[in-house]
């Protein structure tokens, strides 16, 4: 059985203006009904498979984002939802903003938009599910372990390219 049949989702609001959050919640309402894909909006990182992050990362919440990510059991995927979570958005130059979600944890899928539409969100989650399946398959063969946030920070130091840093996990395992 594929793990993507039962993806549980954890939603964390970084420095979002709440626009994306409202759209995330809209996706769980009867009109869009994400439960038909088996998705449950859980409030607990220990039960979650998908980490859905909205808003940029700032100096105060970076530890929170790291902790949530580290508490999630493997296999897991991270979705950056909205332009702020992708690269900081209009808040990018603020003194307290570090940038997008990928400044502290590896991101698998970037969903742009201001605010991100529920359709785009569902599309992003479906893309994330494919990645989740791949990771799960690799994990079963013992070839995969996702980076902890500390390891990711280390690999970010070695390279400026975030995608490359996130990719280091497979070489390590």
């Amino acid at each position: 059985m594929r793990i993507s049949k039962s993806p549980w989702l954890l939603h964390y609001d970084g420095s979002s203006c709440n626009g994306c959050d409202i759209e995330v919640l809209a996706a769980t309402t009867p009109r869009f009904d994400v439960e038909r894909f088996g998705i449950i909006n859980t409030g607990n990182p220990r039960h979650a498979d998908i980490f859905l992050c909205t808003g940029g990362v700032n100096s105060q919440n970076q530890d929170v984002v790291r902790q949530i990510y580290d508490q999630m059991p493997d296999p897991k995927v991270v979705l950056a939802c909205g332009i702020c979570a992708c690269d900081g958005g209009i808040f990018k130059d603020c003194y307290n903003i570090l940038g997008g979600t990928d400044t502290v944890i590896p991101v698998d899928v970037y969903v742009p938009g201001c605010a991100v539409r529920p359709e785009a969100l569902i599309d992003g989650v479906v893309k994330a599910l494919k990645i989740l399946d791949e990771k799960s398959e690799k994990m079963k063969r013992g070839e995969y372990r996702s980076l902890t946030s500390a390891e990711y920070a280390e690999s970010l130091k070695k390279t400026d390219n975030k995608a490359e840093a996130a990719g280091m996990e497979e070489k390590d395992a």
Binding site: M1, I3, K5, S6, W8, P30, D33, E35, R36, F37, G38, I40, N41, T42, G43, N44, R46, H47, D49, Q71, P73, D74, P75, S136, M139, K140
Partner: protein, 290 residues
């Protein structure tokens, strides 16, 4: 143990998760339709539990894992006694034991949300346990035995003698099925830290064990509900099944009509229902005798 009881136990052990998943799958679809949604696939609960067992095994400490497994074991064990035709009292005590292990698992992690969850579970147990015990007493008063295989050997369905107990037990069943109130310690509705506190620090297979235990427990509770309808006549099993389906539907309906009942309401009403429905039935039964 006779051949029948052995077969019943084996069927219970092997098929309970599937049947319980089927029941709760139908229930999730019915709930979704009541809310104007499409709802998940029929076997969604099954996918969920298989996924949990395929996830990485992490636990906060070693004792937590053992306690959750003990919880699962005792939940299965109590059901096995029931379907073997054993003592209802023993079944209920073993079930309480299972609950206690889950609460201990939550306390063992020393986390704030787990602790709140465990406290809520204790309060909740205090609210519904009297009714489950009274039900066992009711079975004894109307049949003269605590043993399941002797209880089902009656001429008339027990629900005729024990309507009060039946109402009280159905009231408890809504709580036992984690439906209403919505902020129960392991409610199926809100997956938030305060409300899911009890299982908040379980993850992967550990959480899978607690879910598995719940599936077995659901079948046991439905079995006890069926006990009110089963007589020595084999056709009564059909009536019991129809009654169980009706009870499940009514639970969904009540849950959707009153979606925001809080746990304080449970505390205040559970003992009242126990006292009036169960207590009055008890007094009448003990006067008219068997």
């Amino acid at each position: 143990m006779t051949v029948y009881s052995t077969a019943a136990v084996i069927i219970y052990l092997v098929f309970s998760p599937f049947i319980a998943c089927l029941f709760s799958g139908v229930d999730r679809i019915v709930t979704a339709r009541m809310q104007g949604r499409r709802g998940p696939k029929l076997m969604q609960p099954w996918y969920d539990i298989v996924k949990l067992f395929s996830k990485e095994s992490t636990s906060v400490n070693d004792i937590q894992k053992i306690l959750v497994m003990a919880h699962c074991f005792f939940a299965i064990f109590s059901g096995a006694i029931f379907f073997a035709g054993g003592d209802v009292l023993l079944v209920l005590f073993a079930l309480t034991m299972a609950e206690v292990f889950l609460i201990l698992a939550a306390y063992s992690v020393n986390a704030a949300y787990s602790e709140i969850g465990a406290q809520r579970e204790l309060l909740q147990m205090m609210a519904y346990e009297p009714m489950t015990l009274l039900t066992a007493v009711g079975f004894y008063l109307s049949t003269g035995s605590f043993r399941v295989d002797e209880i089902i050997n009656t001429e008339l369905p027990l629900v005729i003698k024990m309507p009060g107990f039946f109402i009280g037990f159905c009231f408890i069943l809504i709580v036992k099925f984690r439906k209403s109130p919505f902020d129960l310690s392991t409610s199926h509705h809100a997956h938030q830290e305060l409300i899911k506190g009890l299982t908040g620090d379980l993850s992967g297979p550990g959480y899978g064990f607690s879910e598995l235990a719940e599936l077995y427990e659901e079948i046991l509770m439905l079995g006890i509900a069926g006990l009110f309808f089963i007589t020595s006549d084999p056709i009564s099993f059909l009536w019991a099944f129809i009654a169980i389906v009706l009870i499940m539907f009514c639970m969904s309906l009540i849950d959707n009509i009153f979606p925001r009942v809080k746990w304080e309401v449970l505390l205040k009403t559970a003992w009242l229902v126990t006292l009036f429905a169960g207590g009055m039935n008890l007094v009448i039964l003990s006067y008219i005798g068997k």
